[in-house]
Symmetry: C2
Subunit: 333 residues, 2 copies
Amino acid sequence: MSLEQVAKRARVSTATVSRVLNGLGVVKNSTRARVMKAITELNYHPNLHARSLAGGRSRTIGVIVSNLDNPFFLDIYRAVETDCHASGYELVVANTLYRSEQLASSVRLMIGRRVAGLAVIVSEMNDDIVRELSESAIPIVFYDVGTPGGNITKIRVNYRRGIEKLVDYLIALGHRDFGFIGHHSVLAPIDERRRAAFDAIHAACPEAKVRFAADADSLEGGSQAAIELLSSGAPPTAIICVNDLMAVGAMKELRERELRIPQDVSITGFDNIKLAEFCCPALTTVNIPRDTIGHHVFTSLVPESTPTSTQGKELIVTPELMVRDSTGPARRA
Amino acid sequence: MSLEQVAKRARVSTATVSRVLNGLGVVKNSTRARVMKAITELNYHPNLHARSLAGGRSRTIGVIVSNLDNPFFLDIYRAVETDCHASGYELVVANTLYRSEQLASSVRLMIGRRVAGLAVIVSEMNDDIVRELSESAIPIVFYDVGTPGGNITKIRVNYRRGIEKLVDYLIALGHRDFGFIGHHSVLAPIDERRRAAFDAIHAACPEAKVRFAADADSLEGGSQAAIELLSSGAPPTAIICVNDLMAVGAMKELRERELRIPQDVSITGFDNIKLAEFCCPALTTVNIPRDTIGHHVFTSLVPESTPTSTQGKELIVTPELMVRDSTGPARRA
DNA sequence: TTGAAAGCGATACCAC
DNA sequence: GTGGTATCGCTTTCAA
């Protein structure tokens, strides 16, 4: 079913059908009606590929994330989606599962689709991709990598600061024996959290103990990492998890071992996903405002959407400590 | 950056570049090498719109779901994605947020993209859309609506049976005072669960009490619905939730009122999302196998992918009761 | 083994 | 107001 067939049926030219479809130019009411009629009768739907090929532009924004199963990424995606729809843009998402090969192919896919803008919110970032994208003409938003300027906008979350707030709080509660649960994406932003934790703990208290464990970024991964962590002697008095999802997973393992939270072990998350309020006990965590990030992504990618475009700039997001019920004074040794 | 520029640079025709790109036909090694070189030098990425326009087909599958925030839908999406990627298909997803207007525009979008197949896994279904899609030529999978045959495949979950298993179990535990938490999508499949619960309860025990409450399909919606339910006198002894996500939300409210689960109130979910094992107490629920559904979607939409295509058929999914720790004997009145 | 050229289905500019 | 037509970037015969 093509424009031409509609044109034929309505006894007009394709140009006129196109005008009707796009509400551009002036079309006499009677002809408009004929065209509309033909469109519905033929159940015609314009071919969007032809449209973007002919039109040149795209009104589609691409978003690439590491793991949609983690609400952190999903929340960002949805925030961008809300803005996109409000401005008549479409959104296509790709999920890399933390695999950098998958990231590469997702990037190719998005470029192939000639997206109007691309947000790459992943932690398995790779220098070649950053370079390639930086050289392209598409508006890009990177997360925690790259250099802002030109078509590149950067969002940077000050993880170090967030972790420090958390650690200071735990140290003040008397904790000296820490566990850190990370995940297997041993790349930049994640590993930064681990190092930040290590640094912050030793800065505050050089003799403190820190053990590490890591597994997949999922509820089960959290449990597994907890198992790994608890396999070595007495449990730490506080467990810092790289994110909320894994923390909820870890809590389950603690419950099964009848370790009380927070009396026996304090535990913290990161991100402040909705679930953090609904698990039990409610999770002490660090808030990262996903909606702010989502808005920022959109305004950077579609500068004409706002007077205050952030294209080419850097947004620094400062996390806030959210104290809930999963943390308390360290148990006595 | 177009095929033509690559052709020019490699001193060949566009046809040859196309052959190299698609690995079709025979190309002399030396020319292939020249083309490849030109491609990388120009950092060329084929325009996928032009490709699918010229090629006619699409290798893209569309999936429309009601609410990606609910892991039930996300799991199906991911299952389809896994199969798609394994067979070189791409996947585009649309999220309707239970709004039937949004559903209509997502359907238009997918048709406009000329997807190779479309799965519509939503509960806000609308007869016009079912009809329109049924008349189209695209392979379609519907969830709980429509009539199988031709290009239409249907997946039907036997909710009634699932609810019955749950109700029988609760009745056997002595429950006679029920609450049912639903969500605001007052449409077919969801309302079916509510009616099924009502019917099953009264079939087993005509004098049993049932109260209803509904809110949004989210953790918070679950809490809100629980508040609504508990606002009227003594709490029911068992609360049946339309899905796990809302059940987890409801449990939070029960905890805040210091109602013990399951000693004071039993609570059940539906779907068996991962979270059901990780909340506390672990949730008694009814399993709906999302991966089976996902596979089915893929094999129906891309029949050539398997010898045992399910195109045009109906798959009936029978849910299984999963007893965990959130249910127990009814408290004495 | 390679090239020339006819579409694919829209958009948009230029006439009338 | 409306129609003709070049064009977008690729695939795909048909010839050479």
